[in-house]
Structure formats: structure tokens, C-alpha cells
Amino acid sequence: MSMMLDMRGIVRRFGHVVANDAIDLDVAAGEIVGLLGENGSGKSTLMKVLFGMLPPDAGTISFRGQPLTGHTPAAAMAAGIAMIHQHFMLVDAMTVAENVMLGWRDAGRLLRRKEMADRIRDVSRRFGLDLDPDARVAALSLGRRQRVEILKAILRNAELLVLDEPTSNLASAEVAELLTVLRRLRQEGKGIIFISHKLPEVLEICDKVVVLRAGRVTGRTSVAGASQGMLAEMMIGRDVTAPRPPMVASSPGPARLSVKDFLAPGLARLSFEIRRGEIFGVAGVDGNGQIELVEALAGLRPAGSGAITIDGHDVTRASVAARLTRGLAYMPADRGTTALVKTMSVAENLMLRDSGRPPYGHGLLLTRGPANAKARALMADYDIRARDPSFIAGRLSGGNQQKIVVARELDRRPAVLIAHQAAWGLDPGATHFVLDRMLALREAGAAILYVSSELEEVLAISDRIAVMARGGFAGIVPRGEVDPRQLGIWMAGRAA
């Protein structure tokens, strides 16, 4: 079969780090190729080389029979390669049509609005994109916005579409729609590179998979006959999807966190207890009261009525600081704004909560020496890959940033941990790490509230599972009695 894209022996070094080590990648017309790999495995570098954002140190690229060397992103686009970024490059305040026309020659210097709107409707119908040219992007769901990007690519005659983590921001119904659109594109003979670390999707949509690890191809297989475990093993050198050793039923200790008849804006009346050595998992579609619940427990939102107690002490109206001294720890979902100060160093972020206590400080003064020593110890323990404690947190990968949060909160040996989307956006290796730490904390006797919209994570570590819908719990089941269908009904039937 003649290949649409043919990348041969691509090498790219950054200093002495080899980000791409002799990588081959082929894509045929009408083929979806999955590009799998953890963060830092070299996927982005390879795509930047393809798109002309980075020149390769060695290797050749040929696209539709023409060599591509020393090209710019503009030349790549002109040749028919389109990149659909994880963060959409759209202007929210403008309409779909205006976004399509932006920077597009065919739209004319004097914009041919009507003709463009017709072409948009046409393509939208042909590929099942369901887009209205006059809709404002700000009013569209993330899934629709992504389809605007796909629409732009199709109208600009792209033959090869590169989708970078296309499902990471989508709700599951939208993921299904996206996959339908991709199948349509495949039928029309487009080539697609599907970058992801979500194995089920890759298995569902791709024809073949290329797996990268540490800059090398560690696996190349047709999807037929491949399994998740096999791919995961290629990706990180061990199988993280394997069922964990069955969790030792922890001795049912006394309740550490107890919530009784609790009411707050955005929440239905809630009552639950989490006991010593128990992980209470909360699943459900985002936006059903999760943020309200965790922030109320953490003391960031005022309680309406009811009572929250930690180890028997009433903290319903206690300040954040008072809750912390009672042994509460909180890992917020948005590590970028609530959990970390991105412009400060790793060490400073690690001491945020406890800067007044040894080893970080003494009275009003910070003790830099011991604080740095402590930071180094935590970096080693929690595998935070930064050059040194003074490295700026915002420059680390998402996984390493989250490890800072995990290290800080877990090192306080909390009695109660509230973890919200603790593995959000992390690759399987880092997710595995976070989940393992939760289990270790459970062993140590803490009560853990683990809130996540990734059902698999919740199922993997929870002793009891609740599903949140419309601000309340649609149901709670112990680990042994989970019926996935029932969970699905709870989630879907009453999801906002």
C-alpha cells in the first residue's frame, strides 16, 4: 500500500537528551494510527517535527510522495497536514464562520460571508459535524468546538489530521460523537494520527498503534488482537491495567469524617461517614455537585445547615486553618490555581501549608536549609522529577506538578483526605502512582474521600462507591456489590 505519510528514522536531540531516537511512522490514506506514549515519551516532539515546528537532526519525511524538509508550519498546512491541538485555537467571541474564515485565503480579502456559510453547512452535513455557521463559539460545548477545528481542517483541504489528546476534555457522549466523525473521515480517505493515552479509545477507533517510550518505538501492532494490558506494557514497561491484588478489607475502624444532614448551595441533603482505613469513592459526571461538596468540606464554601465532624470534633463552621489542625488535607482539582503557585519553586510549594512549623520555619522566619533538605527528601520519596528544590513548579509536567501536591498533602499524615480529580490529565504511570499513594494512606488509617469523574479510578481503589447526581448521592454501594450497569444508570439517568 502506498503511504500518505512516511517518516523514516527521525532523530531529534535536545542537548544530550534524545527525544526521538530513529522513529519510523507511516500513515496510509483512510487509516487511523494511534500514537501512544506517556508524557515525555517523545510524541509531541515527533509531531512538532512533522508540523515543521522543530527541524529533525536526522531522518526524512515524505508526504503524499513529496519530501518535506526544512518546512514551516505554514508549508505543512499548505501540503495538507492539519494539527488539532488539545487546547483549541478558536476565538470564543466569534461565530463558527468567522473562526473558519480567520487567516483563510479562500475567504477573500473582502469576506465572502454567504458563500463561506454555505460551504460550512455543506461540509458539516457531509461529515455529520452538526455545526451552525452563525453560532458563537462561546456558546458551544467542548465537543462542538473540537468539531469546529476539524471543520477548519477539512475546509482547508487537509488530508492528514493530527489529533492531540482529543478526548481528554470531552464528556463520554461527546467522545462517542467524535469517534463517529473520525470514522467518517476515514471513509473519505483522510489519514489520522490519534494521540492518546486512553487505551480503550485507542483500541476502539485505531487501525494500528505505534507505542513510544523514552523516545523509541517500543511497540507497533495492528489493533486487531491487541489488548489494553499489552499496550500498557509497551507504553510503560509494565502492565498497570492488571487487576490490583484484591484490597484487604480494612478493619472497620471508627468514623473519622462524618457528615450529617449537610446542606449547602448546589447540594442536596447529604449524610455519610468515612471510617478509619476506608476509601469512599465518589463517581459521577462533572458538575453534579462535586466541587460544591469538596469545597464545603475543605472550608472554602460556607455550610448551610447540618454538621461535619472530624474525629468527633465539630468543624462545620471552622476555618480552613482549624480544619487543617484537626488533620484534614485537601487536594483540589485545579492544581494550576488552587493547589499550586506555579511561579514559585518546588520547595516553596511543598511548604505552603506548614511554613510556620519545622522543618520549614521557626516562628516568623523560614529556615531555608532544613526546608530544602526536606524538599529533597520528598522529591525522592514521591519521585518529583525536578532538577532541584528551587526549580519553578509551573515548568514541570502536569504529572510532576500533581506529585508536589500529593507529597505536600500526604506528608502531613492527614486523618482525613479530600482528593478531587487527583489523577486528572495524568498519564497511566502517574495515575498509578497517585492511586498507590491513596492505598498506602488507607493502610495508615486515614479516611479518604476520592472524587473523580473517571469511573475506573474510583472502582480501582474504593471500599465504597457513591454516584453523585444533581448535588446528591444517587446511590452508594460497597465494593463487592458493584454492578456497572447500575452505576451507569445512576450517572446517566440523573446527570445534569
Partner: protein, 304 residues
């Protein structure tokens, strides 16, 4: 009544031109705080041109240059070197005031400013239309820059909504990354927009020297640039909206002048405060609903 409306239009014209310039700058994502300085430099350049040649047309040609130089300064400092928009704008306003006052004294070479008497641009009545009752003398017997202002509103609206360049400019103010991703150059767009802003605001300044006052005095714009800034916000960053806001400000000022001339004991300071008071009231009323271009004031990433 006609006189009152004529006064309102007269007062609104320089504001509206400056606001048109400001729209270019702000919709491209750069706060137009420097409008005051751009107007003043334009007024000065217009005065010099007309004074040196005794031809108001020469002044008209120089005015955009004067304003454009200030625009260039803002573009270099705020876009190229990514400095804070507010501080940069305020700085060029003070710079323009000092520079024009200084140059006036150099010209006189005696340490005292020259006193200029400039030929004014005369009214150009449009045949037939100007004979209409009431609206004829009001709308169709105006000096050239007033026509230009109305035409400017029309052209600017078409430019922003109907051309690829206008679309790119608006996108740069909303999401420069998107412009970059579609093959554009956000930094270039912003620099050109700010320079064009200076040129148009410079014409606004020329209205004062060439069409109304007939001379240049130190700091003669007297805060009109800030009023134009308020007008373009009240007008929601649209040309016609901003022009309408300028007319409201103009009417308020004309009304106060009237009161004074009828001997109503109103302090001239109250007169001067009134338009700003209106602007503040309107701004407070609009509050958060006056939606700014999303990326305004945000410097571009250094690589773009």
C-alpha cells in the same frame, strides 16, 4: 435648538475620531490609554503644517504623522517589549505634553511659545442637501473633518466586519494564539493597529487646531483623549456606538455651556466635570456587561 445640536456635533467630532482610532487599538488587544497624547501630537503637527505653509491641507497631512509617531512609541514599548499598557499609555501622554510644549518654545527661539493664527478649514456645504430645512445646515454644511468622521465610522464598521484584515485584527484582541495558529502574525497586527490608532487620533487632534480653535496651546486637548476612551467603552467598541456616545458627551457639554450663557450660576469646573460624570455613571451601569476584548492588555508570548 439647531445651535445647540451644532455645538454638540462640533464638540463630539474630535472625540469621535479619537475613539475610532482607539477602537482599532483596543480590538487588537492594546488598551488605548495613549489617545490623549496621540491627539495632542496630532494637533501639534497639524498646527505646524498649517502654520509653516499657511495651508490647512498641509496640517491635515501632517496630523496623522504626529499621532502615528506616538502610536509607534506605544507599539514598540507595549507590543514589542510587552510593557504594561496602562503605564505605557500614561507615559506617552505625559511625554506628548512635554514634547509639544517644548517644541513650541524652540520654534519661537525666545523661550516663549509662538502665538499662531492658523487658517481654518472652512465648511463645505453639500449642494442640494445643505438647502434642506433644519438638517441641511446641521448635517450638510460641515467642515471636511466632520464628514471624514462620519465616513470613518462607516468604513471602520465595514473593515472590522467584512474584511479578512478586520477579522484578523479582532481575533488578535480576542485570542492571539488562534491568529498565530492560522498562520498570522499577532505582534505585527497589534503594532500596525496601534500605529493606525495614533494616526486616526492625530486627525482628531487636528480637528481642534484646524477646524475649531485655530491655534495650538500647551495641553490643548485637555482630557479629550480620556473622554474618547470612555466613549469607546460606552459604545461597546463599535464605531457607531462610540460616535453616539461622543454625541451624548458633546450634548452634555453644549447644554452646560448654554446654562452658563443664560447666566445660570454654574461654575465652569462643574461644566468640565459633567461629561466625565456621565461617563462614570454609564460605566458603572454597564458594569461587567461591557465585555472587553478577551485578550486586551495581555502581552503576547515572547516567541510570537
Amino acid at each position: 435648538m439647531i445651535e445647540f445640536l451644532a455645538a454638540a456635533i462640533r464638540i463630539a467630532t474630535p472625540l469621535a475620531l479619537a475613539a475610532l482610532g482607539g477602537i482599532l487599538s483596543e480590538r487588537a488587544g492594546v488598551f488605548a490609554v495613549g489617545l490623549e497624547g496621540m491627539m495632542l501630537a496630532g494637533a501639534f503637527a497639524a498646527a505646524i503644517g498649517a502654520w509653516a505653509t499657511s495651508e490647512p491641507i498641509a496640517g491635515l497631512l501632517l496630523a496623522p504623522l504626529g499621532g502615528g509617531v506616538i502610536g509607534l512609541a506605544v507599539a514598540i514599548v507595549a507590543v514589542r517589549f510587552r510593557a504594561d499598557n496602562m503605564v505605557t499609555g500614561l507615559a506617552v501622554n505625559v511625554l506628548a505634553l512635554g514634547l509639544t510644549s517644548y517644541l513650541m518654545r524652540i520654534l519661537a527661539s525666545g523661550g516663549r511659545p509662538v502665538s499662531m493664527r492658523l487658517p481654518l478649514l472652512t465648511a463645505l456645504p453639500i449642494p442640494a442637501l445643505s438647502d434642506l430645512p433644519v438638517i441641511g445646515p446641521l448635517l450638510f454644511a460641515q467642515p471636511p473633518l466632520t464628514y471624514l468622521t462620519a465616513l470613518g465610522c462607516l468604513l471602520m464598521t465595514l473593515f472590522l466586519n467584512r474584511t479578512q484584515a478586520g477579522l484578523t485584527l479582532r481575533a488578535t484582541g480576542e485570542n492571539p494564539e488562534a491568529v498565530f495558529a492560522s498562520g498570522g502574525h499577532p505582534a505585527r497586527v497589534r503594532m500596525l493597529a496601534v500605529i493606525a490608532c495614533g494616526a486616526v487620533a492625530g486627525l482628531g487632534g487636528a480637528v481642534l487646531t484646524l477646524q475649531q480653535v485655530g491655534t495650538f496651546t500647551d495641553g490643548m486637548t485637555g482630557g479629550r483623549g480620556y473622554m474618547a476612551l470612555a466613549a469607546l467603552i460606552v459604545g461597546r467598541w463599535t464605531p457607531w456606538g462610540a460616535a453616539a456616545a461622543c454625541l451624548v458627551f458633546g450634548a452634555a457639554e453644549a447644554f452646560e455651556l448654554r446654562l452658563q450663557s443664560f447666566g445660570v450660576p454654574v461654575s465652569s469646573y462643574v461644566v468640565q466635570m459633567a461629561p466625565y460624570l456621565i461617563a462614570l455613571t454609564v460605566l458603572a451601569g454597564l458594569g461587567q456587561s461591557s465585555k472587553l476584548p478577551a485578550a486586551i492588555g495581555q502581552p503576547l508570548p515572547s516567541t510570537r
